[in-house]
C-alpha cells in the first residue's frame, strides 16, 4: 500500500471521527447547559461531507444546511472556533451572533450553514455565476437534504445552474426523513437523483455512507465542473442516527432501519478501509482516535473559557443598523 493512499485514508477517517465526536460532545455540552437554542447533529452522515470536501480545493466554495457542523469540519474549520461559536462566544466564527445554524467562514469560502431549508442552493448557484463571469477555475458544492429537495429554492437552483451551465455540484444527503416525515410520505419519486435528470443534469445515486465511493464520484464531477461540463448532481443515500435536532429523541425512526445503519455506519466502513486497504491495525486506529479526541477536548476547554461579546461591543457592532 502506497504511503499517499494510507495518508489519504487516515485523513478521511480522522475527519469523520472528528465530526462524530464533535457532535457527541456538543450534545453533552447542550445537556450541561453550555450550548443553548438547539442544533441539528450530522451523526450518521459524516462520509458525505468528508468525501465531497476532500475532493475540492480551498479556492472552491461550499454552502451547507441547518445540519451543517459536518460540512464546516470537513471543509477544514478549526475545532476551537467551531465550539466557541456553538457556545455563543466572541471568538467564534460569527462572534457568537450566528450559532449552529449560521456558522460560516467567508474568509475561507465556506458560505455557511443556513437556517432555512433549501435556501443555500440559489446562493451556491450565485457563487458559481460569479465564477463563470470572472472565468475562473473554481466550483461550488451545495449540500441539501432529501427534505430540501422538495422546496422551490432547490428546484429553481437546479434549473438555473443547468440553464446557465454553471460549475455546481448538487449533493443531496438523502437521510430519508424530513424532520419526522418519511421520504415515502413526502414525494412520489423517492429516487431523488431523478430530479437532476429532469432538469438535464448528469446525476447519480450512491451509498452515502461509504466515504470512498462518495469521494470517487465527487472527484470526477468536481474535475468536470472545472472543465466547464457542470452542473452535476449526486444523491447520497444515508441515515440520520439521531432525531431531527438535539431535543428530538427520534422515536419515529423504525428499529430495523436503526439496526441496519448501526452496522452500515460510515465510521465502521471507514475503519474497514483503513484495515483492508491501508493495512492498519486496530491499535493504530485507536492511536489516531486518541489524538483527535485530545484535540476535541482542548477545543471544548478553549470555548468554555472564552469570553462572550460585551454589551459595549455589541452596541458598537449594531450602530450602523
Amino acid at each position: 500500500m502506497k504511503k499517499n493512499t494510507e495518508d489519504f485514508l487516515v485523513s478521511l477517517y480522522t475527519t469523520m471521527y472528528k465530526i462524530r465526536n464533535f457532535e457527541e460532545q456538543a450534545i453533552k455540552l447542550y445537556r450541561q447547559g453550555h450550548i443553548r437554542g438547539y442544533f441539528h447533529p450530522y451523526l450518521g452522515e459524516e462520509a458525505i461531507a468528508t468525501g465531497v470536501c476532500a475532493a475540492m480545493d480551498g479556492k472552491d466554495y461550499i454552502t451547507s444546511t441547518h445540519r451543517g457542523h459536518g460540512h464546516c469540519l470537513a471543509w477544514g474549520a478549526d475545532l476551537k472556533i467551531m465550539f466557541a461559536e456553538l457556545l455563543g462566544k466572541e471568538n467564534g466564527y460569527c462572534k457568537g451572533l450566528g450559532g449552529s445554524m449560521h456558522i460560516a467562514d467567508y474568509t475561507k469560502n465556506n458560505l455557511g450553514a443556513n437556517g432555512i431549508v433549501g435556501s443555500g442552493v440559489p446562493i451556491a448557484v450565485g457563487a458559481a455565476l460569479g465564477i463563470s463571469i470572472r472565468k475562473e477555475k473554481q466550483m461550488v458544492s451545495t449540500f441539501v437534504s432529501d427534505g430540501g429537495s422538495n422546496i422551490g429554492s432547490f428546484l429553481e437552483g437546479l434549473n438555473l445552474a443547468a440553464a446557465w451551465k454553471l460549475p455546481v455540484l448538487f449533493v443531496i444527503e438523502n437521510n430519508q426523513y424530513a424532520v419526522s416525515t418519511r421520504i415515502e410520505d413526502s414525494t412520489a419519486e423517492t429516487e431523488l437523483y431523478k430530479r437532476g435528470i429532469g432538469f438535464g443534469l448528469e446525476s447519480v445515486r450512491l451509498d452515502g455512507n461509504d466515504v470512498l465511493e462518495v469521494h470517487k464520484i465527487a472527484k470526477s464531477f468536481i474535475e468536470r465542473c472545472k472543465n466547464g461540463e457542470g452542473p452535476f448532481l449526486m444523491e447520497c443515500v444515508t441515515f440520520r442516527k439521531s432525531g431531527h435536532h438535539v431535543n428530538d429523541p427520534g422515536l419515529y425512526l423504525p428499529k430495523e432501519k436503526v439496526d441496519y445503519y448501526k452496522l452500515h455506519d460510515p465510521l465502521l466502513i471507514g475503519k474497514k478501509h483503513l484495515i483492508e486497504l491501508a493495512g492498519l491495525s486496530e491499535i493504530d486506529i485507536v492511536e489516531i482516535e486518541k489524538v483527535a479526541m485530545a484535540e476535541i477536548k482542548a477545543a471544548i476547554d478553549f470555548a468554555i473559557k472564552s469570553p462572550e461579546m460585551s454589551e459595549e461591543n455589541f452596541l458598537k457592532f449594531v450602530e450602523e443598523y
Partner: protein, 333 residues
C-alpha cells in the same frame, strides 16, 4: 435644494437610470445585471437598453421566470465578491423572493459577525399605474423598511434616480431600489458630469415656512403640484423628499418641522402600517413641542387596487386630496 451642478441637459427618469448602470458597469467589472427580459429587450421600461451591446451577455442577461432562484443567485454572487444588480419586474413579485431578501441578504453581515457583505442592488418598480389592477399596482416599501439589514431607496426625479442608483451599486449592503412606474417618462435636469447622491440625505424639493409635506417616489410630483396651488391660496409649503427611507435623514425632517410647526405626510401605500406612520412617530418623539397641530398622514385606502381607472384614482392620494389635507393641517385649531 440640491446643488444641480452644470444642468443644461434634460433626461427622462429611465434614461438617467440607464446612464447610472452604464457608468457603474464601465467603472467596475464586478457589476452585472440580470432579470426578466432585460438583455435584448432592454427591460419593460427600457432602463437597460443598450447595455447588452456594450457589456456583453456575461454581464447582461435574461433569467427564467424564477424570481426566488435568481435573486438567491444575486445574493450568492454578492457574497463572493460580485456586485449584482437584480431586476424584479414589479415590486408585487418581490413577494416571491422574501426569503432571499429578508432571511438571507439582510442577515448575512450580522449573522457572520461582520465578515460577510452582500453588495447587491434589487431594482424594481411599484405604485399605481394606469389600470394594472391589484397584483401590479402595490406600494410595498413598508415591508422592506421593517427589516434591519436592508437599505431602501425610492427616487422621485431623474437627477435623484441616477445619483442614488450609483450610490446603491457602490453600497456594501443590500439595497432595495424601488422605482415608480409613472415616473419613467418624466424629464428632469441631469448634469453631464459624474455625481453621486449618498444614501440617507433627504432633499428639500421646495422651501417653505407654513407646513412641511413629506413625500417620496410617485407622490412627489403630485405634492409639488399641490404646493403650487397652496401657494396661490397663501400657504407656503416646504416639500421634503427623504429619497432613501433607510437610512432616513431624520435631521432634515426635524429641522423643517421646527420651522413650520405643521406636518403632512403623503404616501401612496395603504395607510395602515405604512412608513408614514413611523415618520410621524419619529416627529412626535423628537419634535413634539414644536408641533402646532397633529401630524397628518394621507395614505392610500386600506384596500387592494381596483382595475377600473376612475376607482383606481380614488384609492391613492390625488392632488386635490393633498391640497385639502394640507389646509386641514394648517387651519386646524
Amino acid at each position: 435644494m440640491v446643488n444641480v451642478l452644470n444642468a443644461a441637459r434634460e433626461l427622462m427618469y429611465r434614461e438617467a437610470l440607464n446612464e447610472a448602470l452604464k457608468e457603474e458597469m464601465d467603472r467596475d467589472d464586478k457589476v452585472f445585471i440580470m432579470g426578466e427580459g432585460i438583455a435584448e429587450r432592454g427591460g419593460s421600461y427600457k432602463v437597460t437598453e443598450g447595455l447588452l451591446e456594450q457589456f456583453g451577455s456575461k454581464r447582461v442577461f435574461d433569467t427564467p421566470i424564477s424570481e426566488n432562484g435568481f435573486t438567491g443567485a444575486g445574493v450568492g454572487a454578492a457574497l463572493t465578491g460580485m456586485r449584482p444588480v437584480v431586476e424584479i419586474l414589479f415590486v408585487d413579485f418581490t413577494m416571491l423572493i422574501l426569503d432571499q431578501l429578508i432571511n438571507q441578504a439582510a442577515k448575512f453581515r450580522f449573522m457572520s459577525g461582520n465578515t460577510a457583505r452582500v453588495p447587491m442592488v434589487l431594482r424594481t418598480q411599484g405604485g399605481v399605474g394606469n389600470g394594472l389592477a391589484a397584483q401590479h399596482s402595490q406600494s410595498l416599501e413598508a415591508i422592506f423598511y421593517h427589516i434591519p439589514g436592508l437599505k431602501l431607496v425610492m427616487p422621485s426625479t431623474p437627477f435623484d434616480a441616477k445619483g442614488l442608483l450609483k450610490a446603491a451599486i457602490r453600497c456594501d449592503d443590500p439595497v432595495i431600489f424601488i422605482e415608480h412606474k409613472l415616473l419613467y417618462m418624466n424629464k428632469g435636469e441631469v448634469p453631464e458630469e459624474e455625481y453621486i447622491i449618498p444614501l440617507g440625505q433627504a432633499d428639500i424639493k421646495k422651501e417653505g415656512k407654513d407646513l412641511t409635506i413629506i413625500a417620496w417616489s410617485g407622490m412627489v410630483p403630485k405634492v409639488m403640484e399641490a404646493a403650487e396651488i397652496l401657494m396661490k391660496e397663501g400657504i407656503n409649503a416646504e416639500v421634503i423628499d427623504p429619497r432613501s427611507l433607510v437610512p432616513l435623514d431624520k435631521m432634515t425632517i426635524i429641522n423643517s418641522v421646527k420651522k413650520t410647526e405643521h406636518v403632512l405626510i403623503v404616501q401612496e401605500a395603504v395607510r395602515r402600517g405604512g412608513v408614514g406612520s413611523d415618520i410621524s412617530s419619529i416627529i412626535q418623539e423628537e419634535a413634539f413641542d414644536y408641533l402646532d397641530s397633529p401630524v397628518k398622514i394621507l395614505g392610500g385606502l386600506n384596500i387592494p387596487c381596483p382595475f377600473n381607472l376612475n376607482l383606481e384614482k380614488m384609492v391613492v392620494p390625488q392632488v386635490e386630496d393633498i391640497v385639502r389635507a394640507a389646509k386641514e393641517v394648517v387651519y386646524s385649531e
